[in-house]
Every structure is written in C-alpha cells, then in structure tokens.
Amino acid sequence: MRRNYGGFVGLWAVLAVGCSSSSEVAKSGSESEGSAPPIATPATQTSTQSLDTGSVAPKVAKLLSRMEAIGEGSSAALDLELKEFKETPGALESLTETYAKAPSTATAMKWKLVHAVGQFATPASAKFLADVATSGPEIVAVEAKGEGARTDRTLRARYTAAVSLVGHLVAGVKDSGTAINRVLQDADEETARNLGVELFSAGKLSTEWRDALRSRHIFADFKRIEGAELDKLRAIDPATRPAGSPVNSKRQWTSVPPLSAAE
C-alpha cells in the first residue's frame, strides 16, 4: 500500500489557507452600545470546498468536512464521498497516519478521524480502531478548574473507536471479533464498558464477551432504561429554587420566534 507521510502536513496547510482569510476579516471599529450587530457584512464561512484534489490530503479534508453536512441530500452525498474516498489508493493509511501525527491537543480532529475510519469496514480499519481503543487514557495536568478540567483527553477517540468496532462486527468484517476481544480485555475500564453497552444494544453481546467484562469486574448485565424508569431518569424541574430565594431580576421572556422563515 502506498504510504502518504506528507498527508498530515498537506492537510494542515490546506486548512490553514482555507481559513486564514476568514479570521483576518474581523474588523475593529466603533460599536453602537446595546444594539445587535448588523449582518451587512457578507458571511465568510470557513471553507474547504476549493481544494486541490491532486493528493489524498485534500480528500481527507473534504471527507471530514462532508461528514459534518446536514440536511436533505447530505447523507447520500456522504455515502458517495465515502465510496470514492475508499477507492483512493492509500485512503485508510492517510487517515491513520494523519491521526498518528496530529498533536494530542487536536482532539476534535483526532476524534473525527477515528469516526471516519469507523466508516471503513476492513480488517485493517478494525485493527486501527482496536489500537486506538486500547491506547489508554491520556491524563493531562489540569490548570483550569471546572469545565476546563478535561483530564482524559483521548476518551472521546477511544470511545468512538470501540463503538465503531460493533459496526464492523455487524458488517461481518474479518478479524472484527478478534479486535473486540482485544478491547474488552485490554482497554481501560470505561472504554471496555462502553463497548459492552454497544454490543448489548446491537444484540451482539455473547456470553464469552460478558464473561470477559466480568473477569475485569465490569458490570455486564446491561439493560436498556425505558418506560417509567426512563421518565424518572429524565425528570427535570428547572424551577426548583427554594421559595423565598432572591429571584433573577432580568427580564423574563415568554416567547421565542419560530424558525420557519429561516429554514
């Protein structure tokens, strides 16, 4: 298979060029205190549309962009894009190598790459997903409190890799069962648990795999929460402040404009 070590650099270069102009258009100027910003400035969307298609890197960028598309026709367009991408020599390798070379701080990109590999259904993609799923937590020192404190930087990627293996299994991909065995046995507890949840949800959690979880003292008697139990779980009362507490003095809106005009 063709190696594409230049892919990562190329991908970043393409994206940088595609986006720099839009960050530069932010203008300083006088603001009218209190009024909403006028939208007269033409929208400058970030774009990866005008990409050179001469190498795999732009195709990776285009695929990842297409995976975000919403709305009528987007699903069919993605299917077509995926089909074409998969037929590109070195396509899977370009994804996995881009993943390997991306800095660990590029969490959104790395997650999306794993999600893209999950759309393949080959023994090689199964192996890559198992590698990611078993890569273990990357615990980062946290300086910020609160929401800044994402201590496990790779959980998103590991979770997505593990869950994607269930799709491989359902599609009958060779070696996907082996990859799942590996994740159940070697992945961190949370990733193994999430794989168990997904296998259960797909009706694919075998006795052997339940036992693999139990041998690690991970709960394996999964049950979908439904009915009254689900209602209880979802019970929410957003107005539960104790009587007598000072109230929000801000204007309380009573309606929201419907979106029909914008859709």
Binding site: C19, S22, S23, A26, K27, S28, G29, E31, E33, G34, A36, P37, I39, T41, A43, T44, Q45, S47, A61, L64, E68, G71, S74, S75, M109, W111, K112, H115, K145, G146, E147, A149, D152, Y159, V163, N194, E198, S201, F222, K223, R224, I225, L233, R234, A235, P238, A239, T240, R241, P242, P246, N248, Q252, W253, V256, P257, P258, L259, A262, E263
Partner: protein, 271 residues
C-alpha cells in the same frame, strides 16, 4: 461548575467577596481569534439558520450581549463569520433553540428539554460575554445576591468545543445561573467540576434540588441524540453528542450514575 468558579451563594452577601467578584469580572479585550477548527460543525449550522438579522437580534437581547464586550476579533463587526467567538456562540444558541423543534416555547412543562432550553437559558443567564484568558474554564457563571451575575465564555468554549458541546455548555451554565447550583471537588475531573450524584446534583446555599448542571448536560445530549429533527442532526453530530454525554457520566459525578448512552443516545444501565 462548568465553570463555576462561583462565588456562589455559599457566601451570601459578603461585601468583600462582592468586591472580588467585581474585580474578577473586569473585562479585557485581548485579541481573540484562532484559525478556526473546521471540524466543529459551525459552517453547516451557520448555514442552517442563515445568520438572519431577526435571529441575531433575538439572541442579542435575550442573552443581554453588549457591543462593547465583543469588539474586533470577537466579532461584533463581523457577526456572520464562523471564525469569530460571537458567531460561534450564535451557532450554539441556535442549536439550543431549534434542533428539536422549529417552534420552541418558554414553558418548561415538556420533559424534552429541547423544547424550552433556549428560552429558559436566556431567562436564566443574566448576561453573556467573552474572555480569552489562557487556562480558564470553558465557561463560568457568577450568581447570587450582591454579586454581578454573568456568564463568561472562554477561548476553549469558542475553539475547542464543537457546536453541540457549546450548546450543552450554555444549558449547563444556565443551570448554575438559575439554580444557584454549585459543584463539588470529588470526581475524576476534580476541583469544581463534579455533581455529587445524579438525582441530587446541586450544592451550595440556596441551591436548587434535583439534577445538577452536569446532569443537565447529559440530558441535553440524550434528548438531542434521540429527538433532534432530521435536518439538524447527522450521524457524526449524534456521535459527538453521545460521546459528550458519556464523558460527563464517567468523569463528572461523585457517584457513578450507573448508566451510559449507547450510540443511538439511549441510556443503558451499567452498574
């Protein structure tokens, strides 16, 4: 607290504390921009609501934005540019409002939070403004008597979170603001980020009972993944929402809630 380094209501009315809060809320306007990460769904959600002036106006007044808080690279003069913090905030607010319905309400009677999340968040958050300081939470909310109530959004909110994560963060912060709902320190993610447990997740004097801010995030992701309108969700975005919900479930509760979301977004018992 998603953030909430609050000054919460543990300290009812200390003038000294109020002074600190006021200092803490002083607004600086360092350059705030980055080459926008194109993998965070902004261009597609941006196109979905079209950056229409009437919707910009509604968000602007509902969440009490102020022009002086969003100068230059923050986006006041370029509010339809997906690279700016302002537009990235708008995109999240639109998702909060319209992902599950074209006609959101202000009544909170529906169990589906997507029906009322936007109005309720707007009524709960006193004002919203940006910051770009490094090593800050993604957002934090100040609330309580004798303090300047606000929700401040930081660099990581704008550029590290995708649109669905940002929408969840706004809903989460609204819970802090409305419910005086503080966090504890005991969970995997540590200081000021934890709900004690699922059913009773708020702490702090004068706080609400019931679900805490982390629970609100999880529920938003659950409802979004399972009930978002077909033209407001796709498989990749659903996967992001589920991953976000599961991150909170595994890292943000003192006592494990004993369920996780499957890939379709439905809860499954795990202990």
């Amino acid at each position: 607290m998603k953030g909430i380094e609050t000054m919460n209501s543990k300290i009812f009315a200390s003038l000294a504390v109020s002074a600190v809060v006021l200092l803490g809320s002083a607004r600086s306007h360092a350059l705030c921009s980055r080459i926008a990460n194109p993998y965070q769904f902004d261009s597609f959600y941006g196109a979905l609501w079209g950056c229409k002036q009437e919707l910009v106006n509604d968000m602007w007044y509902r969440f009490a934005f102020e022009a002086a808080d969003w100068p230059g690279t923050y986006g006041y003069n370029d509010p339809c540019n997906d690279s700016t913090p302002l537009k990235r905030t708008f995109n999240a607010m639109q998702l909060l409002g319209y992902a599950m319905t074209a006609s959101p309400t202000c009544s909170t009677s529906s169990s589906n939070v997507g029906m009322w999340a936007y109005c309720w968040a707007g009524n709960s958050i006193d004002e919203v403004y940006p910051g770009c300081e490094a090593n800050e939470p993604r957002a934090h909310t100040s609330y309580g008597p004798f303090v300047d109530a606000y929700t401040k959004l930081f660099f990581s909110f704008f550029y590290d979170e995708d649109v669905i994560q940002r929408a969840g963060t706004l809903f989460h912060e609204a819970r802090h603001a409305q419910g005086w709902c503080d966090h504890t320190d005991s969970c995997a993610d540590g200081p000021d980020s934890c709900d004690p447990n699922w059913g009773s997740g708020c702490v702090g004097a004068g706080s609400s009972s019931g679900l805490g801010a982390n629970g609100y995030t999880v529920l938003y992701m659950n409802w979004f993944a399972t009930t978002a309108r077909s033209n407001w969700i796709n498989p990749t975005i659903r996967a992001s929402a589920v991953a976000e919900g599961n991150y909170y479930l595994s890292h943000r509760f003192g006592t494990d809630p004993c369920f996780r979301l499957n890939a379709a977004g439905f809860p499954v018992t795990t202990c």
